[in-house]
Symmetry: C2
Subunit: 324 residues, 2 copies
């Protein structure tokens, strides 16, 4: 059974051998660039680990793992245009370097390359994997659309926010696991378990992301905190705090949100205090831990040897204590 | 054997029943909008006709026909952003109505919906159809990239232009036919014939488009002519004329191209005259007819009853005399 690091090595090697064309350079170089920026490769890792639960031949799942990682990078390419993001993983975004048109078109090509990877799967897995992949890919688009819609709304409710992050983030982690299982011949019960674990992992991951954007130690976190607060981003924290029963704190929070000009550090500090006083800083962590606990329980149900589960258990536990 | 009109009816009906979701509205409405703008449906038509050459059960090819039409509309959605086009089929473009972000994301969703259609094919056809579809889809992106590259270059050669339109336009028509053949169980020889016919049809179609943009009768054509001339677009006509041996005409042509300000009608007339005097207006039509003649010859080789070929023959011949 490979270790997490061995899995990652297999993934990096395979990514180098996906055979992305070279010409025209303007089309394919941005894809190589964004894939080369790294990242944790969590999605293909989940695919391979899930396949490993049910089959010793995890290579069968590799094309699906590649498809998912390439698809994920495609979403980053297009999301960065839509979100006008200048920096991705500490480097300039594709549209900043090559312009929006190139970022649109390279993203399109990346999505097609993802499907080209899927088409390398054994014939019997192609249709069931495509079914999960397509449904998930559409949901990711739906999540991004909801996220954009929320920017223009002032009455976003917590359940709507949770549904948005389920679609935008969690379903792809869930599908990564389920697809790994499909490629290893897992039965439906186990496939559903895999999906549920991935979903929980995704929810916890996103909630932790929200938490860390506000409460992380800047040095350990490795990036500036408070971006969500400055941009009045409707995260779990903000939405929950706005629903607090302490009307004075809600009033103060609204004052800060509506303030056209402010001192950056002052606003961050003030809102952090409100989050702590309303207790939503604890609520969000409890919510994340709830998802993780559920995922761990479901993982226990999965019909495979304890040793195979270990790397995934480590990922789940590390999420609870992650600082970056 | 269905007539062309009956094929079109089947296609329109099937497009209405593709089950495009409704929510979130911002994501899916633009897809329904662009699919609803109509168009000649030439690609799905070619798919069904090609299937009809080899099998009476053309319904088998319908999901592929839908996938190709949806994919084509996805390319229109994204191309219109990149080309900053305001009007498509006489109506405002998606990004003009809903904004660029929506057009990007709806386009992405449309591409996924196309693959969802492919996944409805019988299992044995899925992999071979995906192979042609993916390769073609990438080529279409490559063609669009070359087209954008050409805008910034002043030394585009005729063979480069022909390669660009082969990728941007022709391969999708070629794939439409080949995929129809695959779904009807045609052998490799016939599949290659189908591909070649589609390729020729696409080349002729694009060259005719270039010709008509300059030389059509505005009333019969139904839209303003001369757009390519005004924008100095590097079409077959412009590139050929710039390579003319008549150095005086080339000099005059360059003068018009470089002129920063001009009277629209005057420029159109002057360049039309240069095209006629250099004879490139004839060259382009001869080139188009050459492609059509070749396609007709290849069609003769195809192993099916003469009656089945009739609707396609009509399309090929109508192209030669098309005025809109």
């Amino acid at each position: 059974m490979p270790t997490t690091n061995e899995y990652i090595q297999l993934i990096e090697e395979s990514l180098k051998n996906t055979g992305i064309p070279n010409s025209p350079e303007e089309l394919y170089k941005p894809i190589q660039y964004i894939l080369g920026l790294g990242g944790k490769r969590i999605r293909p890792l989940l695919t391979l680990m899930s396949a490993g639960f049910f089959s010793p031949v995890i290579e069968t799942a590799m094309p699906a793992a590649m498809a998912i990682e390439i698809f994920h990078n495609f979403t980053l390419l297009h999301d960065d245009i839509m979100d006008k993001a200048d920096i991705r993983r500490g480097k300039p975004t594709v549209h900043k370097i090559w312009g929006e048109n190139t970022a649109i078109l390279s993203g399109d090509a990346a999505m097609i390359l993802a499907y080209e990877q899927l088409n390398r799967l054994p014939e019997k897995f192609l249709c069931p994997v495509m079914k999960v992949f397509n449904q998930t890919a559409l949901q990711v688009c739906e999540g991004q659309q909801l996220d954009m819609n929320f920017e223009k709304r002032n009455n976003v409710q917590l359940h709507e926010y949770l549904e948005m992050i389920r679609l935008k983030t969690s379903v792809l982690l869930a599908a990564s696991m389920k697809i790994g299982g499909i490629c290893a011949g897992a039965d439906n019960t186990n496939l559903n378990y895999l999906y549920e674990i991935g979903l929980g992992l995704g929810m916890a991951f996103q909630l932790q992301d929200d938490y860390l954007d506000t409460f992380a130690d800047e040095i350990k976190f490795g990036k500036t905190i408070g971006g969500d607060i400055i941009n009045n981003k409707k995260t779990y924290l903000l939405i929950s705090a706005l629903n607090s029963e302490n009307k004075n704190l809600v009033k103060e929070l609204k004052k800060w949100i509506e303030m056209p000009e402010f001192d950056r550090a002052e606003k961050i500090n003030a809102i952090k205090n409100i989050y702590c006083e309303t207790g939503v800083n604890n609520d969000i962590q409890l919510a994340a831990i709830g998802y993780i606990n559920n995922a761990v329980e479901v993982l226990n149900q999965i019909d495979t040897v304890a040793q195979a589960k270990k790397p995934l258990e480590e990922i789940l536990f590390s999420l609870m204590y992650r600082e970056k």
